[in-house]
Amino acid sequence: MRRVGTSELVFALVALVLCVTVPSATADPSLPTGSQDVEPLVTMEALGISTARGVRLGLSYQVAPGWHIYWANPGDSGMATSAEISPPPGWEAGPLLFPGPHIFTSEEIVSYGYAGDVVLFVDLIPSGIAALDDVSITSRWLVCKEVCEPGSTTTTISLRNLPETQATFTASMSLLPRAPQPDDRVEVLRSAAGFEVTVRGARQVTLFPTVELDLAMSGERPPFFREEIVNSEATHRMRATVSTQFAQTELQGIARLEGEKGTTYLALRIPPTPKEP
């Protein structure tokens, strides 16, 4: 029998320590987790481009097949993906910008989020003498399939020598919701009892309510829009009542319009209830 050398023994012990103590790359070490996958369920890398106003950061997430992470309003369950941005002196970070989400259902639970690859954005605007140093980004998420695992990561990106355009960035930015234009043929009406949204000419319309809108029209369940044919044209309409506590609140949501021109995400603003004269 061959004697085991000191170097082999050290190697084996190092291997044991590494295998036992290194968690999944995405696992938050402060949290108990149900399983320790070898492959991370979510990875995130930060990209950046120079813009006319400053810098746009893109947080590019890759989600393992079959799993999903969550939109700003996760829906019935889940947790919004979040990011804490620590820019260098002279910069201010804007809010996290989410592209239009997708619906995930499990039994009667309806959630909003992303599968596969998704890019969230943050704008950095100069607020003084803007140093071109590193930006620190800590993102937290919940990734779910039938079960859920929380995860987080911290990364940095240098603001020096950022490119002005990146092709993948541009494609992802087109998924960000934009304000409705007259061509979109969207009409929003607010009344004392609730609101009504009408979309003409689209093949399919899906509403993604923000957390506040979700609470305001508690009890309403997707699909919110119903299709009618008006003057031989597809017309999608939704009517919802709003609880009185939100009467003076501007409510927001995202409408996904699918039609001949492709898929468009529109940022809907539902004004407060008009005050009595």
Partner: protein, 214 residues
């Protein structure tokens, strides 16, 4: 070296405690007369479910007392955190029990789903040092009548049997929140103690989905 490798593999194959699904199936629930839907400001739907010892527990038994209902799945990361050593649910039921508040956890997970089953929940009660009972609702009838979506999803019923709060446990999922920490259940119980209306009667719950059956 072969022997060392064997030892390493053996160590790596030791299953983590609490990670394997429970093989035991809970005993049959008592009755669940739960046709009405829970609505804040209205009478909370009554229910009768069995606890982990097989005792029937009814909401109606606690008329006159404030009751907190906590939707529970011991293997959901949010529940693990909340009932963990530094979690916001650790000791919260005991603290309020001194003031006469009844605290009930309900697991609406269907058999075979994550966190379901008598054995798993018994271990969880011990592991999380829970002082309040876990009731099993394997059919999901009670969960559906309360529109329980997440674990944890919290409900507060006042002494008149009226649902006065429904929503999240707090504003810091997994301990991560922005702004001042608010424990919504604590706040609602504080309002009730002072005979005031609940300031924030509904919030959006967060957490894992309730693992209902089909």
């Amino acid at each position: 070296m072969l022997r060392i490798t064997t030892v390493l593999f053996t160590l790596l194959l030791i299953p983590g405690s609490g990670c394997s699904p429970s093989s035991a199936v809970a005993n049959t629930p008592a009755t669940t007369p739960t046709s009405p839907k829970a609505t804040v400001g209205e009478q909370a739907p009554d229910f009768t479910l069995n606890d982990l010892e097989g005792n029937a527990v009814s909401l109606a038994d606690y008329r006159g007392k404030t009751v907190v209902i906590e939707w529970f799945n011991p293997d959901c990361p949010f529940v693990k955190y909340a009932h963990g050593p530094k979690g916001p649910l650790r000791g919260l039921a005991s603290k309020h029990a001194d003031g006469g508040v009844i605290w009930l956890a309900i697991n609406s997970g269907a058999p075979g789903k994550q966190g379901a089953g008598l054995d798993r929940n018994k271990k969880a009660v011990t592991g999380y040092e829970m002082s309040h009972p876990v009731l099993l609702d394997e059919s999901g009838a009670v969960g559906r009548s309360y529109s329980a979506k997440t674990t944890p999803h919290m409900f507060v019923v006042n002494g008149e049997g009226v649902l006065v709060y429904a929503g999240a446990l707090d504003n810091a999922p997994l301990g991560n929140g922005s702004g001042a920490y608010i424990n919504h259940v604590d706040a609602a119980l504080s309002n009730l103690r002072e005979n005031k209306p609940v300031d924030t009667p509904s919030t959006k719950p967060y957490g894992c989905s309730v693992k209902y059956g089909a």
